[in-house]
Amino acid sequence: MTTPPFDGNVSAGTLSDVFAFDTTMAVTTCAACGDTRPLAELHTYMWAPGIVLRCATCEAVQIRHVHSADGRGWFEMTGVRVMQLPVASA
């Protein structure tokens, strides 16, 4: 699979609807392969519809976020074994 043109940086505005912190600074561990890196570096598909973030090493889906036309939304991160939260800034 070729790498997509985007990475997790571009998803952060949309994910601010879900998380109260800057997601680019969160670190995820892939549930499939254990690769651990900042969310900013995940391979990201936008308007897929919605956002899909894949592991940069094994391409397994880590996070999905999508809205329907009537405004309902879904979010799942079953592809993340654990997310390390960014240190809260002063």
Partner: protein
């Protein structure tokens, strides 16, 4: 992160296909060099399109500047880089992202590598460096297709002789005999080694542009011994460099 309204105060062509849009955004909370905004356009029928654009202006500047390269098949860029007039309003959200930022609060050397429109957030860093009078050594390596595609060409040209900031532009598709007497070819380990710093200096590296450019340059840097955590990457869009 709530949506704000920005009013266009000025549009400045940068190249044949790129425009810098200056926006007045009341309640703008300020930003850090390297961050971006999400821009949302709403058509009369309610259809919405959203894209992200890096902030070109330095932190603390009065107005927000976005440099938009028009993609022929783009959904948003042709409007922003073609149809906007002074007084038009656009919705934007931000600033976004704390991973790809340079605050200038340490004196480590900084290597910036930009491909195509990837130079935009790096320009914010260069401008911030000047604005705070940083004495950290900063070098921008900028890959563009042709001389006509080079953004901020005059501003980068004025860096010659600057003691702390420098820029090296390399073109990948400039025709021979065109009068361009600068570098040609891709950003490779040789160029990075020539203008950058050894891994032992632990420079901060920021690489931005199309994913093929970012992949190649980031891998080169790590291959040269730079620690992966010192190499920050931002991939966006298919525009070439």
């Amino acid at each position: 992160m709530k949506w704000l309204v920005g009013t266009v105060s000025e549009t400045t062509p940068e190249t044949v296909s790129a425009v810098t849009v200056r926006l007045d955004v009341p309640d703008w909370p300020g930003h850090r060099a390297g961050q971006h905004v999400d821009v949302r356009l709403t058509a009369e029928d309610g259809y919405q399109a959203q894209r992200s654009y890096s902030i070109a202006s330095a932190p603390g500047s009065e107005q927000l500047e976005l440099t938009v390269v028009r993609l022929d098949d783009g959904e948003v860029s042709p409007y922003l880089a073609g149809d906007l007039s002074v007084g038009d309003q656009i919705e934007l959200r931000g600033p976004v992202g704390g991973y790809f930022v340079w605050d200038g609060d340490d004196s480590r050397p900084v290597l910036l590598a930009g491909g195509g429109s990837g130079v935009v957030p790096l320009m914010s860093m260069l401008r911030h460096h000047a604005g705070i009078g940083s004495d950290a050594a900063m070098h921008l390596v900028y890959s563009a297709r042709t001389a006509g595609d080079v953004l901020y060409r005059d501003e980068l040209g004025k860096l010659a002789g600057d003691p702390h900031r420098a820029a090296t532009v390399t073109l990948t598709r400039e025709p021979g005999g065109s009068g361009w007497d600068g570098r040609r070819g891709r950003v490779d380990a040789a160029l990075l080694g020539e203008v950058g710093w050894p891994a032992s200096s632990a420079p901060r590296c920021f690489v931005c542009g199309p994913d093929t450019f970012v992949e190649a340059v980031a891998n080169e840097l790590v291959g040269m011994g730079h620690e992966p955590q010192n190499v920050k990457t931002e991939r966006f869009g298919p525009t070439g460099g």
